[in-house]
Symmetry: C2
Subunit: 145 residues, 2 copies
DNA sequence: TTCAATGCAAATATTTTGCAATTCG
DNA sequence: CGAATTGCAAAATATTTGCATTGAA
């Protein structure tokens, strides 16, 4: 998972941001997670390794990571303040309602479909969000225990 | 648009809720709107006709309308605390980024597609969200003025 | 050495809760 | 009448901002 970490730190530097301990701590947690994380969760986890970390720096770092397209916001029934690492290209999210684990999937002709909707409804389409919720295999297995 | 109003009031009554002036004011605004509305916007608009209305009653009424499936929450880049009237069956939302106007569209084989994703990824699919953003024809026209 | 970045505390913004007064049925 | 609902004020949450201090380059 953490192939992302050095890459993200690199990108931050390239965009004129300094590489601080606080940023590294946040990047490490988010880049290395296979689950959706809320700012406060990132704070709690990152703080284990870097106790000086402040919650505000978590918010500020997440903001930059989102701005640079490394992470994206996830919308869930329980709230919309969680993030996941972005994947190259345009992909869609599949989320486990129980544990928050996530995966990406591709929607072949969806782009075309949305363009057609735009023509039909006379909207100039700009973007689309798609998320699918369910229970991942591990959580299904656990439920049967 | 306000074919909904009496229908919603009816449904509230059928579910054991009382028909109060506060509820009527909120229902009238949300049922009659062709745009996405935030709780505070509902409050401001509804208050014009019913000045005694409190913001808390708006929240509480919206909660009930959502619970009974008459309205649904909309997720947007700027926030996720807006609501629209629900449409029968499962439809997807097309939203104008500029004015907040909304329309529904149908996704023919999408259900099947999501089931397939579930099999492939071994997820037990429960629900999906899809929203498309763009600029509606009226706002496009205005931009050229 | 310089200025971006930090962490704290305080300020905002949003939503929820407690409660006495009101009102629907 | 009695219970559900209201609106206010206060509390709880979540996020942002101001600012003196720290630290990366």
């Amino acid at each position: 998972m953490n192939e992302h970490k050095s890459e993200w730190m690199q990108t931050l530097r390239e965009n004129g941001y300094r590489l601080t301990d606080a940023r590294e701590a946040v990047v490490e947690v988010v880049a290395g997670s296979d689950r959706v994380l809320k700012p406060f969760e990132v704070f709690e986890i990152a703080r284990v390794n870097y106790s000086k970390l402040g919650l505000v720096s978590v918010y500020r770092t997440l903001e930059k990571l989102e701005e640079l397209g490394m992470i994206q916001r996830v919308h869930q029934p329980e709230g919309c303040q969680a993030f996941v690492a972005t994947k190259e290209g345009h992909h869609h999210l599949l989320l486990c309602r129980v544990c928050g684990r996530y995966e990406y999937f591709e929607g072949e002709n969806l782009e075309l479909f949305f363009q057609e909707i735009g023509v039909e409804k006379q909207y100039q389409i700009e973007e689309h969000w798609m998320q699918v919720f369910g229970v991942c295999s591990r959580c299904q297995a656990e439920a049967n225990t």
